[in-house]
Amino acid sequence: MSEKYPINLWVNEERYEKLQKAGLAAMCQEMLAGLKCIQVYCNEAQKDKILKVFPTAKFDSATTKSIELLPRQVKDKIFDLVVQKQSIDIMDEFLKGY
């Protein structure tokens, strides 16, 4: 099976309400001492593209194996797309714009 690389979308109350309305609240995980998170996944090619298009982003290879430090507005766009599509399988569509 090919490797999957998560992007963590951290969920505060406002985001949780939106996820509930989209019927996605059950997909939230408690990641860190109760802090909720919804993950979208990239494949290898998508991960490479993300790191190239957003140079501040970082793949945390040592600890979490996730893609971190995407600019806030980018994360907001990804989150909005998740809610709009009612799915976490949105990275292809998101990356079309870049």
């Binding site: 963590n8 979308l9 408690e30 860190l32 001492a33 802090l35 945390d60 600890t63 979490t64």
Partner: protein
Amino acid sequence: MAEIGHGGKEIKERILEPAEAKKRIQGLKAYPIRSQLANEVIGIAYGFFSPLEGFMGKADVEAVCKKMRLKDGKTVWSIPIVFDMSNEEIAQYGVKPGASILLTYTGNPMAIFEIEEVYEYDKKSLAKDVYGTDETKHPGCARTYAYKDKFVGGKIALVNRPKINEPFTPYFLPPLQLRKIFKEKGWKRIVAHQTRNVPHTGHEWLMKGAWFQTYGELPMDKPYVGVLVNAIIGEKRKGDYIDEAIILTQDELRKSGYFGDHNHLTSLTFWDMRYAGPREAVFHAALRTNLGLTHHMFGRDHAGVGTYYGPYDAHRLLESLQGEINIVPVYSENWLYCPHCGEITSESLCNHKKEWQKFSGTLIRSIVQDGVKPPRLIFRPEVFDLVLECAEKYGFGSPFVGEEYLAKRTPVFVMPPLA
């Protein structure tokens, strides 16, 4: 009583009295220096880099590169401290052995540089010896390749004390001053926490764990052990936490009672990180010996970058130098959150491995960047609030370094006009 620093040498500040400084700078050509060199002038002049008295000559650089020692063959030293100039500048400023120039910074006099040697050194060979690679993408190699044509060796004497701007003023504590504070506090052992980060509870517990390790067999009737958070302040990269947030949040752990005056102090050192991994760890050991510390925390992949060094390479190198460095390494590994224990714990203590929730500085930065407040078990609320306050007050709306911060921030220090 003499204060003995790294290499068994007495720490002596190289700072001229104002009257003598005024006299000695007369007629000298003024050469403006960039921030890296200004940081290193301070390091030399105040004794942070003792026993160095100036920028290295070729014999020292060669010995450091090839044998990790100064040219005396005994004193351990791992990173070359060099002053670079272009051929044109060397001609223009009359730089030659026996001559002196006046180094200026932010438009005002800083130090007299007594030139002893002008030389060339193979940068690729230097990079390979110090960083273990000659790849340009290694930031230390990139810094090396950016040096100008030649290196200039010679002694430094500060002619003017830097003005440290707020909020950094209380944290500039040079070696002799810091040693005095330690005596006043009655600390017999002090352990260094090297940082360039805003602390999450993993960092807090690294410090607490190191405090326990350092305390050892000492009696508990009085507080005999302190943690010194020594923040490295130097060149910033986009996406780093801003300096103001780093220094103030580290101190906030003391102010908010997670530590106290009796066991915690925050200070800074000016230094542009080389990311030399194990060799940088050895440099940090020398630096903190000069600060008067007895112990030094070294975590996983200390001062490393990318995948250039193994996670415990620095520990192994330090082990090989025991008896030659005068600071006790305190090794530590990652702390994490265990939902089963309901607390922060260590990989070597807790056995609920399948339940572990690991977190890193990168992950926490990511949460903060999303505008989400992490739980207090992971990130102290006082620290989070202060990060946001620093973003507004110093960071142009962001706690992370951006272009506006780089262009418009108040410098950490400037040289004032000579009195």
